[in-house]
Structures are given as C-alpha cells and as structure tokens.
C-alpha cells in the first residue's frame, strides 16, 4: 500500500464516518421482521479484499470501530471473535462504572 502505519490508522479514523452512515442507513431499513417489529442492527462485519472493518453497538453506550489489514483472522473468524470479546468487555466495564456511580449516588 506504500504508506506508514500512522497513515493507515489516520485513514481508518476517516473511515469511521462513512461506515457509521452506512450502518445508520441500514438501520433505517426496518422492519426486518415479518411482524413489522423494529429489529435493530447491532454489528456489521465488512470483509474487504485486504482485511476488513468492524462496527457495532456497545450496549446502549455507543459504538466500537475496528479494522485489520490481515485477511487470515477474517477467514478463520478470529477477528470477529476478538471484536465480540472487545465489545463485551467494554460494555461490562461501562456497566460496572455506571453501577459504581449509582451506588455512590445512593450512598451519598
């Protein structure tokens, strides 16, 4: 690709907005279920010719974006597993922080 790691990260940072827009656009394609009930999109995996991109909700807190240039972990599913684990851990940490604050507020 002929550029530095820093430049690739910069490019990925610029890729977040288009991917987020894509995600929002698809989310607006409801209903996705036959009873007309809204069904929320929670995760998108974009497997490109070289590596891929991941975008998903972290509970009700926000979003996680991840990317790789390595095709192998996409082919084996390892990258998706890592992304799922990262989402789970971040959501868990945020839940814990939120719980601590609620407990502290109740104590105060």
């Amino acid at each position: 690709m002929g550029h530095t790691a820093e430049r690739q990260v910069e490019i990925w940072q610029q890729s977040v907005a288009p991917v987020a827009n894509f995600f929002s656009k698809l989310w607006s394609l409801e209903p996705l279920e036959a009873d007309g009930a809204p069904s929320s999109l929670t995760r998108v995996v974009l497997d490109a010719e070289v590596g891929g991109l991941f975008y998903g909700t972290v509970g009700s807190y926000g979003w996680l974006f991840a990317a790789t240039l390595d095709q192998q972990p996409l082919n084996t599913g390892l990258a998706e597993q890592h992304f799922a684990v990262a989402v789970k851990h971040i959501a868990g940490a945020l839940d814990e922080t939120k719980g601590s604050k609620v407990r502290k507020a109740a104590h105060d």
């Binding site: 890729s15 288009p18 996705l32 929670t42 995996v45 490109a48 991109l53 998903g56 990317a67």
Partner: protein, 166 residues
C-alpha cells in the same frame, strides 16, 4: 435440448437447496438467494439484481417465527422482506465501497449484518453475482454456523462457474 444456462441454473439451485432446504438437522440459514447484477439503470446508475435461485427452510423458519413473533407471521412474508432488503444492501455496500477507496483495502467481498434476532449475510461470488443469506436464529450467528454455510455455498458456486464458465 437443455441449454448450458439452464444447466447452470439447475446446479446453482441444487447448491442452495443442499445447504439450506435439505440441511439435516435444519440449522443455520433459513434462506439463501443467488442473484446476478443487471445493467445499471439510467436514473441513478445503480445496478439491479436478478434473483436466479432461492432456497429456504420453511418448517424451521416457521418454528422460529412462531417462537419469536407469534403465529400471524408467515415464512413467505419474512422471505419477502429479505428479498426486498437484498438490493438495498447491495446498493448501500456499493456506495460504501466508493467512500472507502482511500482505505486501500479494495471492495467489500463479504458483509455480515447482525440484528437483534438473527442476521443477514452478503457474499460476492464473482464480479457479477452475489449470494445473500438470512436467519432468524441468533445462536446460529453467534456460533458461526451461518458464516460457514455461506462460505461453503460460495466455494461450491465458484467451482460450478469454474467448471461451466461464469
């Protein structure tokens, strides 16, 4: 006399049915469709998609619909929604490809969309055809079963086109 095109359509249908409709036990994908790109229309320049083959496991899908959505939802209605979704996903991905040129990672050849209840899958088979799959069974997405079935079908379809020409 059966034409080569008809033979290919028949083989494509067999690939879909063997991996979805006839899969025993009935796990993984509830629905799969193979579609070819048609010429872009004049208005918006977007490619159209013509579904050449489709397969579904109605019994399995019906069970899932009854469990999650109630008996009023039919497999046919769910499949109609998925088929309506297919061109929208395809065109949204084409737009995204354009926006991500700078990333230098090439076009998206596979996409997984995980929703609250199940998800759907988009795989490029070659430059002018795609495979779309869907399920309402979330556990089959979590365990990677649907992904494996999609990859299996893509491999089989690519083998068909290698043998019989795209």
């Amino acid at each position: 006399m059966i034409s080569m095109a008809e033979v290919k359509v028949s083989i494509v249908q067999d690939v879909l049915d063997n991996n979805v409709k006839l899969r025993r036990p009935p796990i993984g994908l509830n629905y799969a469709a193979y579609a070819v790109l048609t010429l872009p229309d004049g208005e918006n320049g977007e490619h159209g998609l013509q579904v050449i083959g489709r397969s579904s496991n109605h019994k399995y899908l019906k069970q899932l619909l009854e469990r999650f959505s109630g008996p009023s939802c039919t497999p046919d209605a769910q499949i109609k929604l998925w088929e309506e979704l297919l061109p929208k996903v395809h065109n949204a991905l084409a737009l995204l490809d354009g926006a991500l040129v700078l990333a230098g990672q090439g076009e998206n050849v596979r996409a997984v969309f995980d929703v609250d209840m199940g998800g759907f899958f988009y795989n490029r088979v070659n430059s002018h055809s795609i495979l779309f799959g869907a399920t309402l069974d979330q556990s089959q997405i979590n365990h990677g079963q649907c992904d494996r079935e999609m990859k299996q079908m893509v491999t089989e379809l690519q083998a068909v086109f290698t043998a019989h020409g795209a």
